[in-house]
Amino acid sequence: MDEMLREFVGETLDMMEAIGGDLVAWQIDPSDRRRLDSIFRAIHTVKGSSSFFELPRVTAISHAAENILEILRARKNAPDRKSVSIILRAFDHIRALAHAIAQDGFEPEGDDSELLAVLSANFRVSDRDQAERYSRKPSPPKTGQPENESEQPGSVPIEWRSVRVPLGLLDTLMNGVSDLVLARNDFALQLRASGIEPADLAGFDRFSEILSAVRGSVSQMRMVPLLQLFAPLPRLVHSLCDELGKNVSLTVDGGQVEIDREVIESLRDPIIHVIRNAIDHGIEDSEGRLAAGKAATAQLSISGRHDGNRIAIVIEDDGRGLDDDGLIERAIAAGHLTDERVSGLTQAQIANLIFLPGLSTAQSVTGISGRGVGMDVVKANVEKLGGSVRIHNRPGQGVMISIDVPMTLTIISALAIDVDGQGFALPRNVVDEVLLASNDSVQRVEAGGALMVRVRGRMLPLVVLEPLLGLESSGISLSDRALILCRVAGSRSFVLDVPDVRDHDELVIKPLPPTLMSIGLYAGFSLPDNGRPMLLLDVDGIANHAVARAPQSQPVETMGEGEDGSAEQDERWLCYRGWEQSLLSAVPMANIERLIDVNYTQLTRAGGRIVANINEEMVAVDNADFALPNHGSDTGTVRMIWASHEHSHILIPVRDVVQLVPLKMRMPAQEDSKVALGLALFEGDIVEMIDIRRLIERAFAQVKMSDRGEVNVYHDEKAQRFGQ
């Protein structure tokens, strides 16, 4: 079966699995908008990818289901049970088809007209009752008397249509909205200058609210999965191999990563160019490979992953690598280089010569590549997006090219760092934790002239911001400074030591011009409310400057390993001792938002549960073994793990946090276990591995559900339950 198709099926089934919990929760509470949104996103993704593989049945069903969900989302009222059960049917049908495709390698023939009729009929007034009948019993349609119940105003159908919009128009809209935000900020500034506090103006507040809502929908309009970029590649590789007589196995990874549509459009040509180059020039023919002691079939991989607010696309081959001497020769011939400078060039600098204009890697111009459109054009196109291209050449072993672009040219939420009055922004999604330098759990260590910080068992390099930026050290005393744990892929995480940090609202990020991009420390810039331009720090770039220097051999492995960035994190678990537990527990790092110390005054017993009020956000506390003291003791804090799954959050009170470790399940939990996945060993102690999803479901369950392990939804059973 086609590799891509297999991946699609796998992804679809995974998604069905993942969305199972949402479906169940949505059934219980159809008014839950968040569930509805994630269900919508899942079906939307299935629809998008299925059309690539020409799976008409899946496309038709998902399209119809999407239409219904779209209508449900547009309504204020909670969906009726009938709509819910119809959606469940559609999901089951898609799952069944995906299973069949997985087995046979193609979409089975079949007639879905009945289901499709149900799906579309459900939203035509005249056929409403007919749909009702369908949903109860999926057998022959009968026409019957319209039921009055279906005349509720909430279920008045809304005509749903999609409209093709030229990309340019979407761009104009997006730019307009971004400019509107900037203009709003400017306006706020002018108001303040004339002595009016914008927040006090109800009208201004309302304006801001509407603006951010519009901004949200516009950005969503533009996000598409990377699959759109990757899907045609297997065919391209196949035909190139045929033409050039080469054997290449292509691995594609990270198709689910979402990226701004405009960014994808501009990446298409560069990526195709890089792949062509790799197959044409980089990869040897089978004889050549065997002679070089390699497998006859070459490996070419392309992967995409999120890295903070950026997307990294890595294309790697195991061909012969770049020809250094050839590059130097051509660079001299093209006048970019003089003989004297050659001796001083490092390996990396030689590889970078390929980005100079007029340097084609081809020995001879072929029909495939080497037509004069070179890597300089690739670089220019990527830089235009505010991205960067890096090349890592391993002579004889292959080339790795990583293209790094902003996920979207729009808005991120950020932390603001002040250095002597100048603000710098740091994307919040790369920040693991912010600690005061005086916190007991951090320990500064010096070794070999380098500063490090020990935090909860991790030893991380310390990067002090001012010297990094070449600025005067601000006069903040050491203990008042803040430490920001920055997450960087490829185990290059570090701790950024900053004089002061504060929360910031969302920032509109504009791409940097190449002049500033090439500094390698910034990912973009922004104009916040105060009207002073602010640079967005690029943690990956900072890691390049200040962290990854030591092991020279590492970059290749570290870059290659990042599948979707989650693989490495998923295996790490945070071991802790629960509030009243002697047994060790562990939660997957991927589910952990942060650790916080919650003051008793922030905790309330209400509605039969304990909730915490954290910056005016209400978060449920897992109270399986935690109780509030009855009287007094208002002072003091409880350390909690802030965990999340999908969009649900929970706080787990802990006695102490032990360590972040990789865990391997030794024994699965018994089936009726409420929250444990299984058991593992850590330094000889037994650790219970907690499934956050189940923990959250336990905390939020209003109805007792029997079997948590089972996420499949059987629509018949549900339909019956709802049909009553």
Partner: protein
């Protein structure tokens, strides 16, 4: 201060002075000329990049043309020409703005210019005895990156 001319002609040039030299920039390319406001420095930026400025809620990279041509530093509060290149906005300092004039005969620069000017101006014009170097903004911006960066 530059006035908006309603003449649509591509031989109109904004003539001004950088250091001791008169320059001309195609008037079509100059969006506005405004005095320099507050500048936010960019650590580790090339020397010619003075920093970032915000003009009417637009973010611009400020290039100090005096640094570029090796003639010291532009004064604070100097004038800036606002231009766009490849989707990015830039502000270029200019010491004096003279006028917008029509320059018809552009000739290649045959004299060898001082190193800072090389690669920025490739053509010139004779305007009533004044030698006006025609500056191409994209070249000027590219040269702000400093010498060829191979790293």
């Amino acid at each position: 201060m530059m006035k908006r001319h309603n003449v649509l002609a591509n031989n109109l040039f904004l003539v001004g002075r950088i250091g001791h030299s008169w320059i001309g920039i195609s008037a079509e390319q100059v969006e506005a000329v405004v005095p320099m406001g507050e500048v936010v420095p960019v650590p580790h930026a090339p020397a010619a990049v003075k920093g970032l400025v915000a003009i009417r809620s637009r973010l611009l990279t400020l290039i100090d043309t005096n640094v570029l041509i090796g003639q010291g530093v532009s004064a604070d509060g100097a004038l800036m020409m606002i231009i766009s290149d490849a989707g990015h906005g830039y502000a270029l300092t200019i010491d004096e703005v003279d006028d917008v004039v029509a320059l018809d005969e552009l000739k290649p620069v045959s004299a060898i210019l001082a190193s800072g000017w090389q690669g920025i101006a490739t053509q010139m014009a004779d305007n009533a005895g004044r030698a006006i170097l025609i500056v191409e903004p994209p070249l000027l911006i590219a040269s702000a990156n400093g010498p060829l960066a191979t790293a």
